[in-house]
């Protein structure tokens, strides 16, 4: 029986639920049934001989109240609480509509808080959790990184990859792919005759098989055939590229297209959405041996590849990690020269391999900031709700006195809060869509395409919804509990105080001020860090320098034809009217990229048993130093004499000179460039130092000056990927002129990237810039909210003390006295809030010190400015209501009681 009972209770539950949602239908049905009932009754009465009118009346009487019967039936039909909830919602909506200013402010501030949170959650989701598209069982995929001494997860070299692939037993396949998609020029494919830059990712033949993706058309690489050198050049297109460029032309499969003027056969198209395991999004995939130089594939120290694999069934990631570590240790013994101290790391597949920890830290930092803002918004709403509850004390007390349930009242008050938060949440999600695109715009343009899907997905929405509910409960429950406590007697006595409620409201305001000042200080610290980074001398002058990146191999230049073209190009750029001085370089200081090389120095022993020194490396044309305004402190610049066939030369940085030849003149000394060739043979090339240049900041502006840097002339050590650097006259832009010049010299040579040096040097400061924008923007919002909070609390106090103020003024208090009296309380709140906030900020700055590069965590300027700023804001927010108090007409104030 209990089972049957349970079933019938359950059934009843569902019917009621259905009835609730089919309300309309049930209502109509009921009305129809009652109409029919009355008709039958009427018929009966008429048969008994009553007139039509009398029959109708008699029927009504026999039936009883139609509306009452309907109401009773409704009660029986639906859940009382659900119907109540609906009534509460309607009631709440009415209240909110009645006070549009409050509603708008609350919804807007909540929208900012919630929107910011959703944005960060979305970014975190995309970078840390989202599985790659069109990949089979992503849970079993791992990233394999090389662990270098003193470094974290790094890239791997091809020979090491091959050894791992041969030896590993815990993985079901290990693939490798090029670090970044490579720019190639696609000419005359399809209908278009124009040359187009496309990005190709070099991959091993088993890449698609290990990732478990399928072909949308044609076939994918054959795991074994493709890895052998000398195979036919074949490519697989991404679905997006196939769609964008070829309009999903199925006849393309099996045809050849020209890449870098070579013919490649399109064998297939990868599944829709597939872009490999990470955020890099190339247009097509090429086999590793076809696209990568034999030397880089043979070089065990060239860490240019990302390696990943798939765990075998029933193998845990720890087991795989242990095996890879063992393989790494074995390789270190077998190849001590290249692999000493190195091993392998295994991590779960991540869109950003090896960067999970720093990204997590960064996102947690941002998440903390946005949560604080949401907290401020909640405190603000809670504060206003408290005030409103106070205003409705009478109404609530009366309802309590008339027997309304306390739970019922709390529910009704909560409904109002919830509705605010739901509106705020919806607006927040809309705002998050805007904010994600703003965030993407803050990111620098990278030299290769990246596709991170920042769509706000189900996961982000669930998190947002949870956040909205928790925040609504937290900020609505306290005021609701407080309000429903209203005890009848004291509330009905009009002048009763509610000290607990006031204390609570003060606490909210203090919290708002504290959190806002915390945000403002954090933003200020990052502004100072960026200032410091910008103001310290980077060793060169980044202003007014135009950059254009080229890859000469795209147009088919080789090490024989390339140098002459580069020289010609530099000469012609110099001849442009807007250009003051120009040159060509492999890498730029303070940019995104650095190049490292190994050198030996005769007579100087490297520390801790190494055979070579690692140095920053750059390949430049003459006049590079003049163009960048890097002073040459001794010796000479490169010149026409430094060409193929003459003595190999180098210019070293001051730090390098000090390190290798302390106290001596470096000019005339030798460094030996050591390269490991394809057959592991080591080539030595002595370079004579002809000059010493002032040091520059090599990687980012916030890093220290480069410790050791060596420059070599392009004419002696040709590289195909180059950047034109052109200092323009009075900061003019010359990008278009350079572009048309390059196009005129060789129409097949695309400009890979074009920007100014200042833009390029900004790259390294992106995290600081993002935090500054987020904390600054939200700090401003928080400050505004806090000001509204202070204003609200003061204005409320003034309104409550209207009579008292009236009496005081009637007794001769001067307006100044009144203002002082009112100000006191507001100022006290501000001061307490500031003190707490500054203490919090001092604590936070200790945590943030790693991001602050050189700025003292307790920077007196920032802390002082923030405190002053808030003092002014607090004063202003209190002064307005205080001023209003002085305008009270004592008589009116007294009479209004």
């Amino acid at each position: 029986m209990p089972l049957r009972l349970a079933i019938s209770t359950w059934r009843q539950f569902w019917r009621r639920l259905a009835a609730f949602f089919r309300d309309e239908h049930a209502e109509k049905e009921l009305a129809r049934e009652m109409r029919a009932h009355l008709a039958l009754l009427e018929d009966d009465f008429r048969r008994r001989g009553l007139s039509a009118d009398d029959a109708r009346l008699a029927a009504r009487r026999a039936f009883g109240g139609v509306e009452q019967a309907k109401e009773r039936q409704r009660d029986a039909r639906s859940f009382v609480w659900l119907a109540d909830a609906r009534r509460d919602m309607r009631h709440a909506a009415r209240l909110l509509r009645r006070d549009p200013l409050f509603t708008a402010t609350a919804v807007l501030s909540l929208a900012i808080g919630i929107g910011a949170n959703t944005t960060i959650v979305t970014v975190g989701n995309a970078l840390l959790f989202r599985a790659p598209a069109a990949v089979a069982d992503p849970g079993a995929l791992v990233d394999i990184g090389t662990l270098t001494p003193g470094g974290g997860f790094g890239n791997s070299s091809y020979p090491n990859y091959l050894d791992v692939r041969r030896r590993v037993t815990t993985l079901d396949g290990v693939y490798a792919s090029g670090l970044f998609p490579r720019a190639m020029s696609l000419s005359g494919a399809g209908d278009s005759k124009a040359t187009e830059r496309v990005f190709a990712t070099p991959v091993t033949g088993n890449y698609f098989a290990v990732l478990g993706t399928t072909a949308a058309a044609g076939r994918l690489f054959d795991a074994d055939a493709v890895d052998r050198p000398g195979i036919d050049p074949v490519i697989v297109l991404s679905h997006r590229f196939w769609t964008r460029r070829f309009n999903r032309d199925p006849s393309l499969i099996g045809r050849a297209i020209l890449l870098n003027r070579e013919s490649f056969t399109v064998i297939g198209v990868a599944a829709e959405g597939f872009q490999g395991p990470g955020v890099r999004a190339g247009d097509l995939w090429v086999p590793m041996p076809v696209s990568s130089a034999a030397s880089s594939l043979a070089n065990r120290t060239a860490a240019l590849f990302l390696v990943g694999g798939r765990l075998k069934r029933d193998v845990s990631i720890q087991q795989a990690a242990a095996e890879l570590d063992a393989i790494g240790k074995a390789l270190a013994l077998e190849y001590p020269a290249e692999n000493r101290g190195k091993s392998f790391l295994v991590e779960r597949l991540s869109p950003v391999p090896g960067a999970r920890l720093p990204i997590t830290i960064f996102l947690v930092l941002l998440l903390t900031i946005v949560t604080l803002v949401l907290g401020i918004a909640c405190a603000n709403v809670a504060g206003v709700l408290l005030a409103r509850a106070a205003a409705r004390r009478m109404e609530i007390a009366v309802r309590l006195a008339m027997g309304a349930g306390r739970a019922r009242l709390i529910r009704q008050l909560l409904a109002e809060t919830l509705m605010l938060f739901v509106l705020g949440g919806l607006a927040g999600v809309a705002m998050a869509r805007v904010l994600t695109s703003v965030l993407v715009a803050l990111l620098p343009s990278l030299p290769f395409p990246v596709n991170v899907s920042l769509a706000i997905d189900g996961r982000a929405l669930v998190v947002t919804a949870g956040m909205v509910l928790v925040a609504a409960l937290l900020s609505g429950l306290v005021p609701a509990l407080q309000a429903s406590k209203a005890d009848v007697v004291s509330a009905l006595k009009d002048d009763a105080q509610a000290p607990a409620r006031l204390r609570l409201r003060h606490a909210f305001v203090i919290a708002q001020v504290a959190v806002s000042i915390l945000l403002v200080v954090v933003a200020g610290l990052f502004v100072r860090a960026l200032q410091a980074a910008g103001s310290t001398n980077p060793g060169f002058d980044p202003r007014g320098v135009e950059l254009a990146s080229l890859d000469l191999s795209l147009a088919g230049y080789t090490s024989t034809t390339g140098p002459a073209f580069a020289r010609d190009l530099a000469d012609r750029v110099r001849a442009l009217p807007a250009v003051q001085s120009a040159s060509i370089a492999l890498v730029l200081p303070a940019g995104f990229e650095t190049q490292r090389r190994s050198v030996r120095v005769p007579g100087v022993e490297p520390p801790n048993g190494d055979r070579t020194f690692g140095v920053d490396w750059n390949v430049v044309e003459p006049r590079y130093f003049a163009t960048m305004r890097i002073p040459i402190v001794s010796g000479r610049d490169f010149a026409a004499v430094d060409r193929e066939g003459t003595q190999a030369v180098a210019i070293v940085g001051e730090g390098t000179a000090r390190q290798f030849w302390p106290g001596e003149d470096a000019v005339g000394k030798f460094v030996v460039q050591t390269t490991v060739g394809p057959g592991r043979q080591i080539t030595d090339r002595p370079l004579q130092v002809v000059g010493v240049a002032r040091d520059v900041k090599a990687s980012t502006l916030i890093d220290g000056l480069s410790q050791s840097i060596v420059y070599v002339p392009l004419q002696q050590q040709y590289m195909a990927t180059l950047t034109i650097v052109a200092r323009t006259t009075r900061g003019q832009r010359a990008a278009d002129e350079i572009r048309s010049l390059v196009a005129a010299m060789n129409p097949d040579l695309p400009i890979v990237a074009s920007q100014t040096l200042e833009e390029a040097t900004a790259l390294g400061l992106v995290p600081q810039r993002v935090v500054m924008s987020v904390a600054g923007g939200l700090g401003a919002v928080g400050t505004l909210l806090a000001a509204i909070g202070i204003y609200g609390v003061t204005a409320y106090a003034v309104a409550r003390r209207r009579r008292e103020i009236g009496i005081r003024m009637a007794l001769g208090a001067r307006p100044a006295d009144v203002v002082r009296m009112i100000l006191q309380r507001g100022i006290r709140l501000t001061v307490i809030g500031c003190a707490i906030g500054l203490l919090l900020a001092a604590g936070a700055s200790q945590v943030l010190v790693v991001f602050l590069f050189g700025v003292a965590p307790l920077d007196p300027v920032v802390f002082g400015a923030a405190a002053t700023f808030f003092a002014v804001i607090g004063l202003a927010a209190c002064y307005l209501p205080a001023r209003k108090a002085t305008t009270f007409d004592p008589l009116a104030a007294l009479r209004c009681e």
């Binding site: 019938s8 059934r11 129809r32 019967a69 029986a76 039909r77």
Partner: protein
């Protein structure tokens, strides 16, 4: 109008039982038919407006004990006819049993006390 004293207040829940019973003995009925039947059976006029039936009907329907369907009366009026279901019949048995025990108990108690 019958005087107040002669009216019988229905105990909570008894109306459901009465409706079930009526449907079980008389077959499908509309609300008016049920109301007429109740008035007919009762020695005293019940304190029952005919509209009072509706909550009981909706309750029983939600429990799945009766089922309503629109039909036409012999006088070509439309009306919603209620039929007792299998679950309703079972429920009627157990509810009747319960009622008998309860009524017996109350009777006994009243006898003892008087």
């Amino acid at each position: 109008m019958p005087s107040k004293e002669t009216r019988v207040e229905l105990l909570q829940g008894t109306l459901d039982l009465i409706v079930l019973r009526a449907l079980s003995t008389m077959g499908p009925q509309h609300a008016y038919g049920l109301a007429a039947r109740l008035e007919q059976v009762a020695d005293h006029p019940l304190n029952l407006n005919q509209g009072t039936l509706y909550p009981a009907l909706v309750r029983l329907e939600q429990k799945g004990w009766i089922k309503g369907a629109w039909q036409t009366t012999e006088n070509h009026r439309e009306a919603k006819y209620y039929t007792i279901t299998r679950a309703g019949t079972r429920a009627l048995e157990s509810q009747t049993e319960r009622w008998r025990r309860l009524a017996g108990l109350v009777d006994k108690l009243l006898l003892h006390e008087s």
